[in-house]
Symmetry: C2
Subunit: 368 residues, 2 copies
């Protein structure tokens, strides 16, 4: 069985689909929890599975630095290493080269930088990134790209976009052909619609199994992100999955689905979970707040996850107050389950052609 | 149904039994994981249950200070608060008053001390301790006792033991009568066999549902502890459970079972688990050690726990190296499962009258 995408329904701009892979089906729109270092932070694999997550994302940059590819390749890849049997998407490391490492130098060849862990000098090229992702046995591989910081300097963005295009071509060549895996291109171009379109055209000429939007969710106002997504998605191939990288809040997800996006990843539910911040249908709540000492209700009785329906806010407030590890686990677990619950309801709304209604009902609260 | 103990088999000194409570059966010898602040650190309740733990211990002192009894009593006690439905034993706080709090003053009435959390002045008497434990809805309640530090000063131990005896009587009166619950006395007397015997006699006169040995496992050599246990257990009522508080290593457990002990609790498997130290049938292993980078085998394929049989030492070493929360969870989870596996094998050996053989086979390795 090879990997493919099929579009099931469109409801105005919103799309219902499926990515079918040998490791399982991914219903879209989908949210991918982030498992940076081969662990979705604070969750066991059983717990991840209980959230109905159908795919997770792991970070090539982090895994290349630690533990190194050899220890993962030796056991057949990430699925065996971390004991997660469903599909895994790996990013290419491009974003982390910019955001985490030090003394980064970009040449036509690739990126040279110092590891943020031990300062060691490292070189990653498109070919090396793809080779690492192959060793990790990633199901969805991303091209290696340059990710410029958020800027209105169009010349800088254009140069970077052109380099990323050349790297995308080299990534495709390095990937070769593997019907069980997918290779995604990454559309760059910042907030400039003409550059985005140019980038997309180049990538479609090369030909990829899916197209990601990179260089967004990097600090620009939400409305700019939405505008950029709306403009570019109207030009994108309907029969390929569209992935908005690094996004986002529940409000971001709703707004981007409305504008035609199929895939998301973000550290938000896990990072905030470790800090006692929980997502609910009534907005975010800070469980450290003293008022939860007298609230014996669970976070959400309707979300089918033990962390959501079995533990009271009173108890969670106590665990957070005592710096108990279980606090991080339970709130993270609930948050990921909540995000998946949101995605399931979004999919259902698209299926019955009522996404607009659903959006209007929830956007304001979930975007607060 | 009321709570009771029944002795099933004796194999030389080792005893097989059952404590039957309305919340479930506890097969003895049993090991109780410690859930100090209403959480067995780093484990969800599902994970605790998967280790086949039949009872856990919670700390009255910690819970009284934080979150306070009101927030637990309001939901009907600890089982509902922390969502653990099996039996819970609570200690009385006596040990923590000595070991954790500051400026402790002991009078005939009780103990006055400053909270180790915020310095607040607190008073606990036998009556208050029992009242707290009732509010926690504890299944096995411990008398409030004075726990002197390890010393060879017999006069100091004698005075303390006498005070603990008077407090035990007051604890019994405060406990009253409740067939669903058990109240345990605590035998004191340090390493002095005559004092231990005197303490036991007094307590048996008062009459309890079980008898604990306190003031051991506080720094004395293992052989002294074993000697004390052996001496006193020969005088203990065969038809009451015997609990060696705060113990211990796998070697301690084996040696104390041999000398007639039925119940144990210890932070060892959880505390060491958070530091990457794993217990195995071949002794302790430090998963931080670089040699585990190339060990793709699980901690124990025969222990029926995901943490023991699904994750490689290579992966665990990686998680520890990255300070991932999952490292604490998985190694703790395995350690508790290993301790329960050890207890299950001990019980089986007693059942088939082969405990001596089992002891000889494992004591040296497990005590290293």
């Amino acid at each position: 069985m090879s990997s493919k995408f099929s579009l099931i329904n469109e409801d105005n701009g919103a799309r219902l689909g499926q990515i079918i892979t040998p490791r399982g089906i991914i219903d879209t729109p989908t949210f991918m929890p982030v498992g940076t270092a081969a662990t979705v932070k604070a969750l066991s694999v059983d717990q991840i599975n209980q959230t109905n997550s159908q795919i997770i994302l792991c970070n090539t940059y982090h895994l290349y630095l630690r533990p190194g590819t050899e220890r993962i390749e030796r056991v057949g890849g990430l699925h065996n290493f971390m004991n997660f049997k469903k599909p895994i998407l790996t990013d290419s490391g491009g974003f982390q080269v910019m955001s985490l490492s030090k003394n980064t130098k970009i040449t036509e060849d690739g990126a040279t930088f110092n590891s943020h862990i031990d300062g060691k000098k490292i070189f990653i090229s498109p070919e090396i990134s793809i080779e690492i992702q192959k060793k990790l046995n990633s199901d969805i591989v991303m091209v290696f790209d340059e990710c410029p910081e958020y800027t209105k300097d169009k010349k800088r963005i254009k140069e970077s976009m052109d380099l990323s295009t050349r790297w995308a071509k080299r990534s495709k060549t390095a990937f070769g052909s593997n019907p069980n895996k997918m290779l995604f291109g990454i559309v760059q171009g910042g907030i400039f619609n003409d550059l985005r379109k140019e980038s997309l055209n180049y990538l479609e000429e090369i030909g990829f199994d899916g197209y990601a939007l990179g260089g967004l969710a990097v600090g620009e106002p939400q409305i700019e992100m939405f505008d950029t997504v709306e403009q570019i998605s109207s030009f994108m191939d309907k029969n390929k999955p569209r992935y908005l990288m690094g996004t986002g809040t529940p409000g971001d997800l709703l707004g981007a689905v409305k504008r035609g996006i199929d895939m998301f990843d973000c550290v938000l539910p896990t990072r905030t979970g470790r800090n006692g911040l929980a997502f609910t249908w009534n907005g975010k709540i800070n469980l450290r707040n003293a008022k939860y000492q007298s609230d014996d209700t669970p976070l959400d009785p309707d979300v089918n996850c033990p962390a959501s329906n079995l533990y009271s806010k009173n108890y969670l407030n106590h665990l957070i107050n005592c710096n108990e590890i279980l606090a991080s686990t339970l709130v993270t677990w609930h948050n990921v389950a909540f995000f998946q619950n949101l995605m399931a309801k979004i999919r259902n709304a698209i299926k019955i052609n009522k996404f607009e209604e659903f959006y209007n009902q929830h956007y304001e609260t979930l975007n607060s």
